[in-house]
Amino acid sequence: MIATRVQAEAFDAAAEAAALVAGRTDLGALVTFTGLVRDTALRLEHYPGMTERQLGKVAADAAARWPGIIGQVVHRFGDLAPGDPIVLVVTAGRHRGEAFAAAEFLMDWLKTRAPFWKHEAGAGWVAARASDDDAARRWEP
């Protein structure tokens, strides 16, 4: 099970990770990825409804590829300052290889599939990066 959530509020990465693995003693690997606002304040617009739907599809796809992996994805929207956390991906499983792979997959796919748009203060809308498309493509068959 990989759960997803969209919210304006900050998240507590440690609490999310602790909740994910609580009571489990069969997990050998816990991976936490936090995306941070770099350099410039930004506003993150999204498409309510489609965001939840697309994150759910990405999570279901990850769960199908790595059946032993559990996870939690949290994505924020709204106004964010430099250094603020934007996105959290936590994965856990028996072995580190699958936990790392699932976390990278979730990030790569949500980067290209979840309907968010970054607007930087003073600089306008952020352009999509070809490197994100490349990162996403490596998971295709």
Partner: protein, 83 residues
């Protein structure tokens, strides 16, 4: 048909949503974009570069050739930049 616009598509068109009834010969997403572009200078500016336009029907991404028949909600927006 409910149309939704996001990010700079929304800004150029000047609204985030509008309800429109396209003529019967507007059959695909591509047809819809062509027809929308004629509605105002803002619509034209928003849709000028088709390579920078993405479309979702009922919250799933669709290709430019997709039919729009039966669509409840069509969203038009730039490539996503979350994460």
């Amino acid at each position: 048909m409910q149309l939704l616009y996001f990010a700079w598509v929304r800004e150029r068109i000047g609204t985030g949503a509008e309800t429109l009834a396209p003529p019967a010969d507007v059959a695909t997403v591509g047809d819809l974009l062509d027809w929308l572009a004629t509605r105002s200078p803002g619509h034209a500016a928003a849709l000028a570069d088709r390579s920078a336009i993405r479309v979702a029907i009922d919250q799933d991404f669709v290709a430019i050739e997709a039919p729009i028949a039966g669509a409840g909600e069509i969203a038009i927006f730039p490539p996503v930049t979350g994460g």
